[in-house]
Amino acid sequence: MTALTLTNVNKSFGNVHVLKDINLEVEDGEFVVFVGPSGCGKSTLLRVIAGLEDVSSGEVSIGGEIVNTTPPSRRGIAMVFQSYALYPHLNVRNNMTLALKQEKQSKQVIEQRVAEATRMLNLEDYLDRYPSELSGGQRQRVAIGRAIVRHPKLFLFDEPLSNLDAALRMNTRLEIANLHQQLKTSMIYVTHDQSEAMTLADKIVVLRAGRVEQVGSPMELYNNPVNQFVAGFLGSPAMNFMPASLISEGDTRTLGVRPEDLFQSDQGQLKASVQHVEQLGGDTNVIAKVKDHQITARLFGQHDIKPGAELSFGIAEGKSFYFDKDGARLRG
C-alpha cells in the first residue's frame, strides 16, 4: 500500500509559484528524504502534506484517502520541527500526552504509549521537567517522543537536527534510523545536508526551485544522476565539473568526475598544479587547478603532496559523466 501519494501538487503564495507539479509516491514503511538547496520548497511541501498549507491545485492522499480538506490533526501524521516547538507551559509528560488527550484516548492507552516512547528515547528521568530545563538534544528527543506517542501513519521531520552540534547530530541521526527500524512506519525527512540524506534514506527526492529533479535510492542517484544539478548536489566533496575540451580538443560538453574517481598517474590527461592539500588521515583531498578550473581529487590513504607540486590525474574507466550546456545528462 502507498502511505502517501501526491498528484500534480502546485502551491503558490500570491503570485510566487513555490511548488510546481509535484508527483510522488511514498510506500509503506519507507524512509524518504527531501533534499535541495535553501528556499527550494522543502518545508512548504512538508507543510502541504501535513495540511498546514492548502494546495493551490492537485491532490494529496495519505493511506489511500484523499485528505485535501482534512485538518492536520486528522490526517494521521505527526511532525517534528527544527525549532522543537515544545509547549513551554507544559512539562515533558504533558507535552507528549496533549494530542492523545485531544483525541480522547483512555488513561491506560495514554500511560502505555508514554511509557513506550520514554523507553525508546531514554526520557524516563525528564518526564516532570519543563522544556526550558532541558538541553537542545533532550528537547529534540521530547519532540520526537511527542510524535511517537500518536502512532501516526506518517512521520514528518523538518530539519530536526540542524540546531544540534556535530557530535549530537551523528548520535541523533543514528537514533532516528533505529527508530525507523523499530517502528517500521513511513517517514519523510527534510534536510539540506546531503550526507544526512545519503545515510538515512531508502529513497531520496531531490528538489530544485519547487520541482522534483530526481527520485531514487541514494546509490541510484549517486551513480546515475539525471542532470548536473543532482550530480553536483550529492556526494562530498562535490563532483568536479570542467569543460570536456580539457581532455579532448573541440568537445563542447561538460565533463563531470567524482573526486574519488581521479587517480594520480604520470600518463593522466589532466595536468594540474596543486593549490591546497587536506590530510584527513584516511583520505587525502587534493585541490588543484587544471588551467583555470579547480578540481578536487580524493586519494585513498596518506600522501605527502605539497602545494605548488605539478601532478597528472587520470580518470577511472567508465566513471566520466557528460552534460550538455543546460545541465542535462548526455549518455553513451
Binding site: 507543510r47 501535513a50 492536520p72 511532525m79 520541527f81 516547538a85
Partner: protein, 279 residues
C-alpha cells in the same frame, strides 16, 4: 561582567541619579498626601510641613465621606477601568492574532485602518459620540464610558500586540494544530501566555488615562449614580472657593487603586521592555 558596571563610583552615580529622579517624581504625590491630613489653615501656612499634633486634621476625609457618594464614584471608576481594560486586551489581542496569523484579502488594509485610530484623537468625535449615545439611550450609563474607552484603547493595543504576536514561533502554533488544538485553544493557551509582557504594557498605558479622564464622564455620564471618581472630586473645586482639604483627600484615595494595579502589572511590564535586551 563589564568593568564600568562594577566600578563603585559609577554605581553610586547611577543610583544617585535614579534616587534623585524618584524623589522628583514622587514629590507631588507626597505633597498631596501630607496636605490631605492637615487643616485648611496649615495647608496654606506651610504647604511643605508634615502634619503635627497641631495641624493634623481628618476634616478633608470627613467631607469627602459625607458629601456625595464617594464609594459609589469609586466603584464606578473601578468598573469602568477594569471592564474597559478587559475589553481592550481581549478584543485587541484577538484582532492582533487574526491580523498577524491569517492571510486574507485586505489584511494589510485592515491593519492600517485599525492603526489610523492611533493618530486621530477620539475627542474630535465627541459631538458625534454624544449624539450616538443619545440615540441609543446610553447616556448616563457606565456602558457609554466603557464603549468609548474600549474604542479609544483598541488601535494601539492591536498595533503593539500584533507586532509581538508575529514573533511567536509558527512552529509552535503548527505543532498545536497537528496535535488537534482548536484555533481558540492555540490563541488562549499558547499565544497569549507568550505575549503576556506586551499585554501588561498595553494595560498600563491604557489604565491611567482612563482612570483619570474627566472629559467623557463629564459629557456622557454626569448623573449622580454614574459619576466617576475624578468627576466626583470636582464638586469640591468651585469657581470662587475650593475645598482643598476635600480635593486633596479625594485625590489621595484616587491614587491608591492605580498604584495597586500598577504594581500588579509592573513586573510584567519591566519584562516586556527588557525582554529584547536580556535574550
Amino acid at each position: 561582567m563589564n568593568k564600568a558596571r562594577t566600578n563603585p563610583l559609577n554605581t553610586a552615580a547611577m543610583h544617585g541619579a535614579l534616587i534623585l529622579y524618584t524623589l522628583i517624581a514622587l514629590f507631588p504625590v507626597f505633597v498631596i498626601l501630607i496636605n490631605s491630613f492637615k487643616s485648611r489653615k496649615a495647608i496654606f501656612r506651610e504647604p511643605l510641613a508634615l502634619p503635627d499634633a497641631d495641624s493634623f486634621s481628618m476634616i478633608g476625609y470627613q467631607t469627602v465621606m459625607k458629601q456625595g457618594d464617594f464609594f459609589l464614584y469609586f466603584q464606578n471608576s473601578m468598573i469602568v477601568t477594569v471592564v474597559s481594560l478587559t475589553f481592550i486586551l481581549l478584543f485587541g489581542a484577538m484582532a492582533a492574532f487574526a491580523l498577524s496569523e491569517y492571510r486574507f484579502k485586505g489584511n494589510m488594509l485592515m491593519g492600517l485602518y485599525l492603526a489610523l485610530g492611533i493618530m486621530i484623537p477620539i475627542r474630535i468625535g465627541t459631538v458625534a459620540i454624544l449624539e450616538m449615545m443619545v440615540a441609543t439611550g446610553l447616556v448616563n450609563s457606565l456602558m457609554a464610558l466603557i464603549l468609548v474607552y474600549t474604542a479609544q484603547g483598541l488601535p494601539l493595543a492591536v498595533f503593539i500586540l500584533s507586532e509581538f504576536m508575529r514573533q511567536v514561533s509558527d512552529d509552535l502554533k503548527n505543532a498545536g494544530r497537528i496535535d488537534g488544538l482548536s484555533e481558540y485553544t492555540i490563541f488562549f493557551r499558547l499565544v497569549l501566555p507568550l505575549v503576556r509582557p506586551a499585554m501588561a504594557t498595553v494595560a498600563v498605558f491604557n489604565m491611567i488615562p482612563i482612570w483619570n479622564d474627566l472629559w467623557f464622564p463629564l459629557i456622557l455620564a454626569p448623573a449622580e449614580e454614574t459619576k466617576t471618581l475624578t468627576l466626583g472630586s470636582q464638586v469640591f473645586i468651585g469657581q470662587f472657593v475650593t475645598d482643598w482639604n476635600a480635593v486633596l483627600s479625594a485625590l489621595s484615595m484616587a491614587i491608591l487603586p492605580v498604584l495597586i494595579l500598577y504594581v500588579i502589572f509592573s513586573r510584567q511590564l519591566i519584562r516586556g521592555i527588557t525582554s529584547g535586551a536580556v535574550k
